[in-house]
Symmetry: none
Subunit: 213 residues, 4 copies
C-alpha cells in the first residue's frame, strides 16, 4: 500500500488542537460550516514554508481565502479551456465569494524567483527544458526579468521579487471580471513584500513604489 498513516507527532498535535483550539472555537466553526465562508480578502502568496500570512495578520479562521503557489504568480487571462489553477482560484474568489480585496504578497529569499533569474540569465538550462514544470511556471515572470536585467548583478534578484508582485497585479487586471470589479469599486488590489530576515513588510504605496507598511 502506497498511502501511509500520518506520522505520530502530527497525530498528537492534531488531538491537542482538537481539545483546545477546536474546543474553544467550536461554536464559530459550526457556524462557518453551516453558513459558509465569507472572507473579506483573497491572498496570493508563495508556498514557501517560511511565510505564513495568517500569522503576520493575526487572521481569524474564515478571514482570508488563500491561494499559494510558487513565487505568488498570476498568469495573464487565457480562457483557452486549459487547466489554470490560479485563474480558477481567482475566479472563485471574485465571482463566487465577492472578496473585497485581492492581496499579492511576495517575499525575500524566494527560491522560485532565484530560479527564474538563473533561467533567464542563462545559468539554468535545465529550467529551460519543456519538461521542467518550475521553468514553465516561471515563464510567467520572464517579461519581468527584462525590467531588472540592466541593474547591477547584486540588485537584480531583490528587484525581481518586487517585479513578481507587480507582474501578478498587472496580469490580474487582464481578467475582465477583475477589471470590472475594480472599476466598480467592489474590489481593490494590494501589493506586499515580506522580508523573512528582518520581518519587514513593504507595500506598493500611493506613488507606485514599495514603502514600509
Amino acid at each position: 500500500m502506497t498511502i501511509r498513516p500520518l506520522p505520530r507527532y502530527l497525530v498528537q498535535r492534531y488531538h491537542g488542537w482538537h481539545a483546545t483550539t477546536y474546543a474553544d472555537n467550536s461554536a464559530w466553526y459550526r457556524r462557518l460550516a453551516d453558513e459558509g465562508q465569507r472572507p473579506r480578502a483573497m491572498v496570493i502568496s508563495c508556498c514557501d514554508s517560511r511565510v505564513h500570512v495568517t500569522s503576520i495578520f493575526g487572521a481569524d479562521t474564515g478571514e482570508f481565502f488563500i491561494h499559494r503557489n510558487i513565487a505568488n504568480l498570476v498568469p495573464p487571462y487565457a480562457p483557452d479551456g486549459e487547466q489554470h489553477g490560479t485563474s480558477a482560484a481567482v475566479e472563485y474568489a471574485v465571482r463566487e465569494l465577492h472578496v473585497s480585496h485581492l492581496i499579492v504578497m511576495g517575499h525575500s529569499q524566494c527560491g522560485g524567483i532565484a530560479g527564474c533569474h538563473a533561467m533567464c540569465s542563462g545559468q539554468a538550462p535545465e529550467l529551460d527544458e519543456a519538461t521542467s514544470f518550475v521553468g514553465r511556471w516561471m515563464d510567467i515572470l520572464r517579461p519581468g526579468y527584462e525590467r531588472v536585467a540592466g541593474l547591477p548583478p547584486e540588485e537584480q534578484i531583490p528587484a525581481l521579487e518586487q517585479v513578481a508582485v507587480r507582474v501578478s497585479l498587472e496580469n490580474l487586471l487582464t481578467f475582465p471580471f477583475i477589471a470590472a470589479a475594480v472599476e466598480a469599486r467592489e474590489l481593490s488590489l494590494h501589493g506586499l513584500l515580506h522580508d523573512i530576515r528582518n520581518g519587514q513588510l513593504t507595500m506598493i504605496g500611493e506613488d507606485g513604489h514599495f514603502v514600509p507598511v
Copy 2:
C-alpha cells in the same frame, strides 16, 4: 492609481505581530533567511478560508511547504510545456526541497467539490463552458465523479470529497520523480480529510479506507 494601500486594521495587526511574534522569534527567522527552508512535508490543501493546516498541526515557521488551490487537486503528469502551477509546486518540493511527506488534505463543505458535482450531474451548464476557469480546473475530478454517481444523492458530495483526495494521490503517482521517490522510500504520501463542523480529521488508513486519526 489602481493599487491601494493596505487597510489600516491589517497594518496595525502587522505591527503588533512584528513587535511580538517576530521579536520573540527573530533569531530563528534570520536563520531561515540565511540557511534557506528545510520543510519536512509538503501539504496540498484548499484555498478555503476555514481550513488552516498550520493551525491544525501547530506548525512551526519553516515546517510545511504549502500549496493551496481550489479543492486540493493535483492534475496528472503532463510535461507538455504548458503552465502547470500545481505540478511546479510538487516538482519544487520533491526535487529541490526533498520533502519527506506529501500530504493531500481535503475538507467538508468544499465549494469546488459541490460545483464539480453540479457540473458533472448536469446542473451547472455555466461550468461546462470553455471559459470557466473553475469548471476546467474541476475537470481534473471528472473521472472521480463516475465513482460516486451510483450512490444515493445525499451521499454523493461527501463521497466526492473523499474521492478528490484519492484522485490527487493517484495523479501524484503518475509523476515519475514521485513514483521513484516513493519506491526509494524517500517520500511517503498521505491522504487526509478535515470536517469543518466537528473538527474531525480522518486519514486513509492501512486498509485504504478513511479512518479517524
Copy 3:
C-alpha cells in the same frame, strides 16, 4: 466549567496591541488611569458591528463616552425606580462627567429599525409579545412609526432611521438635568445619521433637516 478561555487569535492580537499601541501611549494611559477620564462628548450609537464612531471621528482614547444599544434609542425620562441602563449612562455623562456634547448617531440598514417597522406594520407578531426584549425595547420608537406610516412603502424604513434619531433627541430633552444644561448652554445636542454603504454622514442642520456634514 461554563466560562471559556479567550480564542487564541484574540490573545495574540491583544499582545500585539500591548507591545505597540499600549507601549507607544503608556504615558497617556497612566494619566488617564490616575486622573480619570474627561471626555468632551457622549455618543449614543447602535451595537451594530459595522458602525464604529471612534474610527469615523479618529477618536483619541479618553475622548468619547460611548453608550451603544439597539437602534441608538433613548427612552423618555421615567424616574420610577426601575433599571434604565440608557438613562443611567446619560445621567452619568451629564451630571458626573459634564460632557459638553451629546451626540445621537443612527445608521442605515439597522436591524432594530427594520424590526420595529415590521412590528408596527403588523408583520412581526413575535415582536409584539411581552417576552420579546427587542420588541419591548423598540416600543420606544412606536410613536415615531406614526410619522412615517403615510409615506410610500419603500421610503418608510429610511425615514424611520431618521425619526429614531429625532425621537431620541426629543426624549433626551425630557430629562430635567439635560434641559437645564442645554438651557444654560453647558451642553449641546447633535443628531447624526451614518450611511454604511457610501460612508456618508448627515446631520440635523440649522433648519431641522438632515444635511450632509
Copy 4:
C-alpha cells in the same frame, strides 16, 4: 433651535476618514451594507472613554457586535414586558445574529463600580434615591457587593470590578436562550478585565480565577 451642528473639528476628521479609511475599504463597507453583518462575537463593555475593545483586539469592521453600558452589567432575565435595553441587545445578538462568543469586559478605575461601592457601603445616599438612574442601575451589582464587603477596605473596589464581570456572566446564564445555546455548544462565554494603567488584560481561566491572557 436646540439641535446644534457638529463641531468643526469633528466635521474635518470625518471628511479625512471618508477620503482615507472609507476610500480604502469601500468595497468591504458595500458588502457589509448589502449582505448584512455577521459578527463572530458580542462584547459587553463599559461606556468609559478610556476602554476601546476594537483597538485592543485590532478588530475589523463587522467583527464585534458591541453593547456598552455603565459598568458592563447585565441584569437577570426578567421577561416582564418592561424596557430592558441590555437584554434586548443580548437577545438580538444571540437569537438573530447567532454570535458564537459572548464576552464581558470590565476595566479598572470604573466610576460605576466605585459609585456602587460607595452606595452599598452607605457613603453615597444620593445614589440610594429612587430617582437616581445610576443608583438603580448599579443595584444589579448589589448582590456582588456582599462578596467583597469582608475584604480589607483597599481591596474591595478592585475585587468588585472582578465581581461585576462574574455577576454579568451569571445573569447571562439566567436567560433561557443563552443557557440553551451554551448547552448546545453554539455559544461560549468569556470574562475579561482590562487594566487601564498598565494595559494588562486578565481573563477568567480554566480554574475560575482571573489570570493574565
